[in-house]
């Protein structure tokens, strides 16, 4: 059962009409209920809800604490390749981004080096990332990387190109816990406008990918839209519908949501729909009230100060000390040096929160939360050889 049918039933006009009818009474009703409908979510996301932000924050905090306690899980991204065959206007990895920085795919020994460096810091949960290059960075390579990472970490997830079910099954077989795959934008027109090359141009294939991962047995499914591409209120509603769909179809998989906000984009792309801090907070709070048991991830794309403020508002997992270039932990650490620009390995985005894992752990504790390094066990996803 594809989510495409739901998307067809919820065109932009229907979502806009839903927002247009929202009144303060709808917001108050949505706040007071325990089980919230799509209509309630629209109320909480709408501009009408702005005066209710504090009440939403209190409810979001209560729900998050009930479901997750006062804990924040820690994870680290490992970029294993920055080769990319797609041409996404907003991304530094894009094949036509104009960057002359180095492209590379880590070999097994290099992946091990990166893993070793992160494991030494205490990490147990990692996210492996690549660009969109299924032909030159094939499924087998990623499956091998998962198996290597599993020698060091109890939980390994990937954020890579959309695959078919067999591809996800192969990763699952090698010990994968989760798949994160941002739709980037659910809006078909915008999707077409910003994705100019490669297999990624296929909107439908990407839309159904996360469901295929669930079918293949992947336990954690990560959703997200790239905030800034399109109108966030409309995107959020589509994302919520997607989440509800997945909860029914992939009932054994846990969902998590990320909130990647476009900041520094290549020169050829201007963020048309920027999301302000208050809007980002409203988005997170409203989604928390709608999806109380879903994990919410916050990456180092956001500033240290902002991230710290968000800890008690519904975030459940944070990355820390991240590098967004392949080899960034053990192999190419010298990127900070002057005059290296010509030879530096290309990074996907500039990290805003540059604190070390230790500093982030201290910030989490200061907020009254327990930093959790391990929340998954290898026994749940045994590696199968070969």
């Amino acid at each position: 059962m594809s989510f495409q049918a739901t998307m067809e039933a919820w065109p932009r006009e229907r979502v806009e009409a839903l927002y247009a009818g929202i009144t303060p009474a709808d917001v108050e009703g949505a706040l007071s209920r325990e089980e919230r409908s799509i209509h309630d979510l629209a109320a909480l996301l709408s501009p009408v809800a702005r005066p209710y932000l504090e009440a939403m924050a209190r409810e979001a905090q209560r729900l998050t604490r009930w479901h997750f306690g006062r804990t924040i899980s820690l994870y680290a991204p490992i970029y294993i390749s920055n080769l990319c065959a797609a041409d996404c206007l907003y991304c530094s990895f894009a094949s036509h981004s104009g960057s002359r920085d180095k492209r590379t795919t880590l070999g097994p020994d290099e992946i091990r080096e990166e893993c070793r460096a992160l494991a030494a810091l205490g990490y147990q949960h990692v996210l492996l990332l690549t660009g969109e290059a299924p032909r030159i960075v094939p499924v087998d390579y990623i499956a091998g990387a998962v198996a290597i990472a599993r020698e060091y970490f109890s939980s390994v997830s990937v954020e890579v190109y959309a695959m078919d079910t067999a591809g996800y099954a192969e990763l699952h077989r090698r010990g994968l816990e989760g798949v994160t795959l941002y739709m980037e934008t659910y809006d078909r027109d915008m999707y077409r406008r910003v994705h100019l090359g490669g297999e990624k141009m296929d909107y439908g294939f990407r839309l159904d990918a996360i469901e295929r991962a669930g079918e293949a047995g992947v336990r954690r499914l990560g959703l997200g839209v790239l905030l800034g591409l399109y109108q966030w209120r409309i995107e959020a509603l589509w994302l919520a519908l997607h989440a509800r769909h997945l909860q029914k179809v992939c009932w054994q998989s846990a969902l998590s949501v990320s909130f990647p906000r476009l900041r520094h984009t290549p020169a050829r792309f201007r963020v048309e729909h920027p999301v302000s801090d208050p809007e980002m907070v409203q988005l997170m709070l409203a989604l928390r009230l709608f999806l109380p048991e879903s994990g919410f991830n916050l990456s180092t794309r956001e500033s240290a100060a902002f991230r710290d403020r968000l800890i008690p508002l519904g975030i459940t997992a944070m990355s820390a000390g991240s590098s967004t270039r392949p080899g960034g932990y053990a192999i190419h650490r010298e990127e900070c040096c002057e005059g290296m620009a010509e030879t530096a390995v290309l990074e996907q985005f500039e990290v805003e929160d540059t604190r070390s894992p230790g500093e982030v752990v201290s910030a989490i504790r200061r907020a009254g939360y327990d930093p959790v390094w391990k929340d998954f066990d290898a026994a749940f996803a045994p590696m199968q050889l070969g």
Binding site: R65, W66, G69, W251, D377
Partner: protein, 264 residues
């Protein structure tokens, strides 16, 4: 009053068990354990690394001389995963006790009866003392008891829901029929809920979220301990069943006996 709780031949004075997830720090957990007087403390194996010593994690808050560390399989989706996890814990040196939690769906964390029975069979044969977390299903409780589980642990409401005992009628039947201790687990959000379970005749309760979410962890743990004690004492003291209808004022069977004659 000597009223110990006996599970698999082992004696416990406290009838309050506590879960260790969700606390803001090991220190807050330590306070809760101390104030609760709990002697059975359950730990999710997925949260701990038994191969590494801890200075500030969950395990550091448990005193093995005072509390039985009861590992649980929370996060397992099927029997195979739960069994694997339990065996790893035993191999790492923990006692062969396990709280079986098999929750294939991640939203409400409701237990899977089929996989729970499968895992219980395997683990009992393997020499484990098995305490299964189950739906409040009286037939399932009997089936598990027959397999040889050390307790049954029916839920009052979904984990972390704070809703109290929503499965009252079924828990009543489970208690009435059980030959093993009945531990009401999950959903107990206030001391009054715990007292109610004990007044119904439960042998023990297990609490986590209500303690970890309190602003004073020790205070809330103590409140639960008192409630458990009060509920137990009330049950032992012959708390009458609550009646739905008033007693008929004139006897319905008086006609059977001659006036002045007693039915006895």
């Amino acid at each position: 009053m000597d009223d110990p709780l006996i599970i698999a031949g082992r004696t416990f004075r406290s009838r309050l068990m506590i879960g260790t997830g969700k606390f803001p720090s090991a220190q807050s957990l330590r306070e809760a354990i101390a104030a609760s007087g709990a002697e059975i403390v359950t730990v999710a194996l997925r949260r701990v690394d038994l191969t590494r010593p801890e200075d500030e994690g969950i395990l550091s808050a448990i005193d093995p001389k005072k509390q039985l560390l009861l590992p649980n399989t929370s996060g397992a989706r099927n029997a195979e995963e739960a069994v694997r996890l339990a065996r790893l814990a035993r191999a790492a040196g923990l006692e062969p006790w396990v709280k079986l939690e098999l929750t294939p769906e991640p939203r409400y964390l409701l237990p899977d009866p089929i996989e729970t029975v499968k895992a219980a069979e395997i683990l009992i044969k393997d020499g484990f003392v098995v305490l299964p977390y189950i739906q409040a299903d009286p037939v399932l409780a009997k089936r598990l008891e027959e397999i040889g589980t050390a307790t049954v642990m029916p839920l009052g409401a979904p984990i972390g829901s704070n809703r109290g005992i929503r499965t009252r009628d079924m828990i009543r039947i489970i208690i009435e029929q059980a030959k093993v201790p009945v531990v009401v687990d999950a959903g107990l959000g206030a001391p009054s809920h715990a007292a109610e379970a004990m007044e119904m005749g439960a042998d023990a309760v297990l609490v986590n979220t209500a303690l970890s979410d309190a602003s004073d962890h020790g205070g809330m743990a103590r409140a639960f301990a008192l409630a458990v004690e009060a509920g137990r004492l009330a049950w032992r003291s012959g708390l009458g069943p609550q009646r739905d209808a008033a007693e008929a004022s004139s006897p319905l069977t008086g006609f059977l006996f001659a006036s002045g004659e007693s039915p006895a």
